[in-house]
């Protein structure tokens, strides 16, 4: 009897979960489908769901117009570069805040977040002038630094929250067992910290990948990432839904794939199931 109820409940929950999941995913699915339509099918009434003549024409048109791989390479470069730089700065800071907190720690954390409050458009011209003087316009290095700086507060925050979850008891237990500081770090702390670091990395790669103000306005050709690629397909003259969809799929596909493959680690990383 009880089993019956749980089973029914599970089916009910499954249906509900799938409905919610599909509803949230629908715009992306629709974009995916539209990217294989012709421009006229894309705006046909009533909308065609699956049963239309699938065509890859949009993808080949886009490929002949722009060097997608150049933009993609830049996106990867910027996302990874800024994230690595961020880790280098954020891990020690978050570590210190989590394990040797002072009364001011919380203030510093909040102050860090407040550096993100100046709206980018408000400082656009000053920063542009600064970049001209430093010769950093359209350079990947300049952008990596900017992306690193705007995401640093978030990185410190995320890492701090994760590190904070690592129970200090375990450290003390290890010490009782006579572990050296080095053993403490490599054998006890690192394994527990890695999942948190992994999910912070992923979050930052996503944020850097999607950042569309500075990456668009401080680049021209050499350093232009996928946000600039999208900007050449958003609302051109003429019907554009199908081509825009194809360009959008190309722009989000790499990050979507990475995100999906790592989401299991991501969730596991956030739970710390083992230690709790």
């Amino acid at each position: 009897m009880a089993r019956q109820v749980t089973k029914q409940r599970k089916i009910g929950m499954t249906v509900l979960a799938w409905a919610v999941g599909l509803l949230i995913f629908f715009p992306i699915l629709w974009t995916f489908l539209t990217s294989f339509k012709t421009e006229l099918t894309a705006i046909s009434i009533p909308p065609q769901f699956m049963f239309f003549d699938w065509t890859t024409e949009n993808y080949s048109t886009i490929n002949s117009q722009a060097n997608y791989f150049h933009f993609m390479a830049n996106s990867i470069y910027l996302a990874l570069g800024s994230t690595l730089l961020g880790l280098l700065f954020a891990i020690p800071a978050a570590w210190a805040m989590a394990f040797s907190p002072t009364p001011r720690t919380k203030d510093i954390l909040l102050w860090m977040l407040s550096t993100k409050m100046l709206p980018a458009v408000g400082v656009y011209i000053p920063i542009y002038l600064l970049f001209i003087n430093l010769g950093l316009l359209d350079s990947r290095f300049g952008l990596i630094v900017v992306l690193f700086l705007i995401n640093l507060p978030i990185m410190v925050w995320m890492l701090y929250t994760y590190f904070k979850e690592i129970p200090v008891d375990i450290l003390e237990a290890a010490r009782m067992d006579g572990a050296s500081l080095r053993q403490e770090i490599t054998q006890v702390l690192t394994p527990m910290a890695v999942p948190g670091i992994a999910s912070t990395v992923l979050l930052n790669v996503i944020l850097a990948w999607n950042e569309a103000f500075w990456t668009l306005n401080l680049t021209t050709t050499d350093a232009a990432p996928l946000t600039a690629f999208i900007a050449s397909y958003s609302s051109p003259q003429g019907n554009f839904y199908a081509k825009l969809s194809a360009a959008s799929m190309l722009a989000i596909a790499p990050i979507l794939v990475v995100g999906w493959f790592s989401q299991k680690q991501l969730v596991r990383g956030l739970t710390f199931g083992a230690v709790k």
Binding site: T38, E39, L40, I43, I45, S64, Q65, A66, Y124, I125, Y128, L129, I132, L137, D138, L216, N217, T220, T221, A224, A228, A231, S232, Y233, S234, S235, P236, Q237, G238, N239, F240
Partner: protein, 443 residues
């Protein structure tokens, strides 16, 4: 090894590198061209190899961006002397302002075979300051009334040679069939100085009103503006499509192409899209009429729109010669010929050269050619006694972008019904007065 030797070796190596670099630099120049993602420009990008073959040593880097983003990029870059672009795609609005700021280099190296006198005079004037050409026209447009011949026939209507707004209103009423998804008229509603204000500024002129009077006082509360906007809101509410306040050129193009609009008054370049079977479901049913003029008389002869997307070289560019060579190629007769060979005559960039409109092949391939050239020829953007600024659907002063966009928002607000026409216009007047005062035009 002493430090001295090291230094010397270093210096020698440096010199060697410098020599090599400058030698290669002479052999190959890379120019960066910033352009809009309109189809004519995308086509030009596809033909780059022809230019590079004819001009060995020059390679072209393209930066193709959506209009607003491109404008933001090039404006920032030229105003701060960033030097990121060698060729910029700009319009008739920017050219006089930027030339005055000494931001643009005069185009004096276009070559002997360029035939500058072949450029359509009104366009050439629009891009010249004191007889120097500061930008070369890539394609140009005016305004047309596009209508569905089949729907007009059903309703027993015939498009007059010079329609009036009274006629347009009547036709909209007769052709509208909202229950079957056919709207009598589709017009721009999306706010922006180059979006709804391009159309509304033009419509207001057809009713005899300008943006500013001779003393730079904004005119939004004048009779002409009131009549124009009242009619516009009335027509669109009764016979227009839903969501009109966010419809720009593209949205209307989709609607018209879907056979949902009986009439559409917009940039003449629309004609080539709605007659293209790949873009439109009604390619054979489209008629081209002149833009309507005001109800009682025709105060400004009906044609009040002139725009040319043009190529210019910023003064800050280090590669003036290569940049001008590129412009010369892209706006030449040979380029037109090249596009015709590769993509057909209907796809050549319109509106810039007189010779194109004497070419029978083009006239045969493009049913909208005559209407387009008529419209362009009769549009006169020069300042007059009662209009102190250059421009028709825009006013070529730096403040206009901001004013136009803010006023455009008010018009969209009136169209959506959230404010009345009178309220919207008085708000518009207040906004414009505030800005013009800040700009020092009026007290």
């Amino acid at each position: 090894m002493s430090i001295k030797v090291c230094l010397r070796a270093g210096a020698a190596l440096g010199a060697l590198v410098a020599v090599t670099v400058s030698a290669t630099a002479q052999e190959s120049t890379t120019i960066t061209v910033g352009t809009v993602n309109n189809s004519d420009m995308v086509r030009m990008q596809g033909l780059t190899s022809d230019f590079e073959e004819k001009n060995p040593g020059i390679t072209v880097n393209w930066v193709t961006l959506e209009e607003n983003i491109l404008r933001q990029r090039v404006t920032t870059d030229i105003a701060t002397n960033g030097g990121q672009f060698d060729v910029m795609t700009i319009g008739t609005y920017e050219v006089p302002i930027w030339a005055k700021q000494d931001w643009l280099a005069p185009l004096d190296q276009l070559g002997d075979s360029y035939d500058m006198d072949d450029l359509i005079p009104s366009i050439r004037n629009a891009l010249s300051v004191e007889d120097n050409l500061y930008a070369a026209p890539f394609y140009a447009e005016s305004v047309l009334t596009l209508y569905r011949k089949d729907l007009f026939e059903e309703a027993g209507l015939e498009m007059p040679e010079q329609p009036t707004w009274d006629f347009i209103a009547e036709a909209a009423e007769k052709t509208a069939d909202k229950d079957n998804g056919v709207y009598g008229i589709c017009l721009r509603g999306k706010p922006g100085w180059g979006e709804n204000m391009g159309f509304l500024g033009n419509m207001a002129r057809e009713f005899g009103a300008n943006y500013f009077d001779a003393d730079w006082q904004p005119q939004f509360e004048s009779e002409g503006w009131k009549n124009a906007i009242t009619l516009y809101v009335d027509l669109m509410t009764k016979y227009g499509p839903p969501g009109a306040a966010s419809n720009g050129f593209n949205e209307n193009l989709s609607l018209f192409g879907q056979g949902k609009c009986a009439m559409w008054i917009d940039a003449s370049v629309a004609a080539s899209f709605v007659t293209d079977p790949e873009q439109s479901q009604v390619p054979d049913q489209v008629g081209f009429g002149a833009a309507p003029c005001g109800t009682s008389d025709c105060p400004n002869s009906g044609y009040n729109w002139l725009w040319a997307w043009s190529l210019a070289v910023p003064n800050g560019s280090q590669k003036q010669e290569a940049a001008q060579k590129f412009i010369s190629w892209a706006t030449s007769k040979e380029y037109t010929q090249l596009v015709a060979e590769q993509e057909g005559w209907a796809n050549v960039p319109p509106g810039t050269r007189q010779s194109l409109y004497e070419n029978q092949e083009y006239l045969d391939a493009a049913p909208f050619a005559q209407a387009t050239i008529d419209a362009i020829n009769s549009a006169d953007p020069e300042p007059t006694d009662d209009k102190p600024y250059y421009g028709l659907q825009f006013a070529a002063i730096p403040e206009f972008q901001g004013i136009g966009t803010a006023v455009g928002q008010q018009m969209a607000s009136a169209l959506s019904g959230s404010t009345s026409v009178d309220q919207a216009l008085s708000q518009a007047q207040a906004i414009a007065t505030r800005e013009m005062t800040r700009g020092g035009y009026i007290e």
